[in-house]
Subunit: 166 residues, 2 copies
Amino acid sequence: MSRTYSRQFVHPVALLSVKYQDIENLATMAWVSPVSFDPPLVMVAVSPKRYSHELVEKSGEFALIVLSDNQKELSTLAGTKSGRKEKKWDLEPFKRLRKEPQIIRAPLLKECRAAYECKLVNQLTTGDHTLFIGEVVAAEIHEDVDPLILFNREYRKIGDFIARYP
Amino acid sequence: MSRTYSRQFVHPVALLSVKYQDIENLATMAWVSPVSFDPPLVMVAVSPKRYSHELVEKSGEFALIVLSDNQKELSTLAGTKSGRKEKKWDLEPFKRLRKEPQIIRAPLLKECRAAYECKLVNQLTTGDHTLFIGEVVAAEIHEDVDPLILFNREYRKIGDFIARYP
């Protein structure tokens, strides 16, 4: 089955921020979702090929930063370079928006829609990805900006209101 | 932490269709995502309180039907009634759109954005939900309709194009 199967889902665009010892990295993720209300848990699916994969396992924590629709450049920047070759946090757009976390060690970003500080509580291998399950230990939400959407390899804005979910 | 944390993510709206012996059910799900390219796997997070939870476990398979932005009524209908009390597939809107599957036993729907027939290959308890991991054994995609979005308890259309993801 081709990758087309995976392109029929709308996704948020999130940056996975990790810090292990003095190594920091950022990577772009679309396969993310809440997975529990109580405790509050989120999941992110990460390929074991990604540099961030080992940094999450080693540090046991991560931040998930839900980008706003003004931040597509950050998604593209973090998603098209490897942290093995380049320190992404040294790039100007990230340096400018960097914000220190409250509880974990991985840095956050300003001007996003939401940022979650997470402790890794479980993981599961699913085919060619690993599901990392994080407990949200701190969260900040900025309702003044709209979330960026990824759909069928296009960045999109959120569209017209249809109805309330009852 | 309140449920607000979970409302910052954009979601597709999917109907989970299950059939165990002669029992059929439909339930509305937003916590869904692809989780592997090869093999093609999807995950859906289901509360153990839901009737569909036991039907997925017993049957070992499920369909995931990604609704179009013309189908919000189906989401609301499947999401606000319990299959323990009512046979949802007997309701007129579902009866009218019912479509037989290729490989699994759970019925599909016409006029959706996409429909995936899945074999349950793994599951993981994450807090108050269970992640069911399904291998996609058949898929149909209808690119002539746009997907329905759920965000912050509102149905939304997909919005303006911003840029291609590189």
